[in-house]
Amino acid sequence: MNINFTLIAQAIAFAVLIWFTVKFVWPPLLNAIETRQKEIADGLAAASEGRSALEVAAKKSEVTINEAKQKASEIIGQAEKRASQIVEEAKGNAKVEGDRILAGAKAEIDQEVNRAKEGLRAQVSSLAIAGAEKILRKEIDAKAHSEMLSKLAAEL
């Protein structure tokens, strides 16, 4: 148990070792470890962020798909409606056209009938006159009646 100059020498050695550690050993280790810790933390944060982004995207895509489906069914419904509308329209048009043609035909028929009637009437009157002439030719003497006829002509 003899205290001597070794004490001072050891204290100096100790101080130098501490200085060395403080200056050259601790900082690079601390730096490496803290940088890695930060990188790991960042990586984990990015991973969870990615996971939540994926979830959001999945939800978004679902919504989009639903919207598209809805739109598609809407369009199909509209198309069906339009198609039936067109058919109805065509039906209406056809009916109108048909009616028109029918009316035209009817009018033409009426005209023809009238014309025929007129013709017939004319023919009936000439026939009647011819008949009457034939009858009259037998009974009327031209001489007897020429006085009356000339009277008639004078009255004209």
Binding site: F5, T6, L29
Partner: protein
């Protein structure tokens, strides 16, 4: 006693007595600063203690430095992973005790203390007679060599005193000179003037006992461990069965000593951190 032993050893190997054997192994390789071989007075250096401790300090801190120099934040090498394991262990301990900027001084100091003391304690595992054999091969039969620097009170007291001065330095740095003196007189019992002497006495005892208990705990454990190795080594003098018996007991003590070596290094480091942390706290 030392000269007597030297005379004994000088005569012949058979003249070795148990006390001479132990005396030889517990003697330092002491040299006066002026060049004389002496172990008297203050101006003496223990070459064995100095050379072993400095070599071990350079070895352990150098090895750590070699790894730290190339430390990367990416995937660590196995060596770096091991060093980071030690780093993390020390850093965790310091973090639990000291709540301030530990990275600027206290944590690296704790790392130095732990690794250096651990390495110095570990020299206890070297077989004492092998060390003596190697040394006597180079330096003659008289050459003495204590392989365990921490079983030299100079080493442990040097460390404890250095920590003690750091303690006072940090006390003054954190609280100011006035704050430190105020604390010397006004804690732990209060600020009333009639308790000043009691406070001062209390603090005085604390300041004296801290380095003493700090250094003597480590020294005592290591010195006792060494003495027990020497006593077990003495069995070899009783013949073949004694040698075998001594070797078995020595192996057992070595295994138990692994615990003491690590534990004492840990305790020394923890006390260092605790003392320095206490210096930062104001009461």
């Amino acid at each position: 006693m030392a000269t007597e032993h030297a005379d004994n050893a000088h005569h012949t190997e058979q003249a070795l007595t148990p006390s001479g054997y132990i005396e030889h192994h517990l003697s330092f390789n002491a040299h006066g600063v002026n060049g004389n071989v002496t172990d008297q007075g203050f101006w003496v250096l223990h070459y064995d203690t100095l050379i072993m401790s400095v070599a071990l300090g350079v070895l352990v801190m150098g090895l750590i430095w070699l790894v730290a120099r190339k430390a990367s934040a990416g995937v660590p090498t196995k060596a770096q992973a091991f060093v980071e394991l030690v780093f993390g262990f020390i850093d965790d301990q310091v973090k639990n005790i000291f709540h301030g900027n530990r990275h600027s001084f206290i944590a690296p100091t704790a790392l130095t203390v732990f690794l250096w003391v651990f390495a110095m304690n570990s020299m206890d595992f070297l077989p004492v007679d092998w060390v003596a054999g190697i040394v006597s091969f180079f330096g003659g039969a008289h050459a003495k060599w204590r392989a365990v620097p921490t079983s030299d009170i100079n080493t442990t007291f040097a460390l404890a005193l250095a920590i003690w001065f750091l303690m006072i330095y940090f006390s003054i740095k954190v609280k100011g000179l006035g704050g430190w003196v105020h604390e010397l007189f006004c804690s732990p019992f209060g600020t009333k003037i009639w308790v000043w002497p009691a406070n001062f006495l209390f603090n005085l005892i604390e300041y004296v006992s801290k380095p003493l208990s700090h250094s003597l705990r480590l020294f005592g454990n290591m010195y006792a461990g060494e003495v027990i190795f020497l006593l077990l080594g003495l069995w070899a003098a009783t013949g073949v069965s004694g040698t075998i018996f001594g070797a078995i007991l020595g192996a057992g003590w070595s295994i138990f000593h692994i615990l003491i070596v690590a534990l004492q290094a840990f305790i020394f480091m923890m006390l260092t951190v605790v003392y320095l942390a206490m210096a930062h706290e104001s009461h």
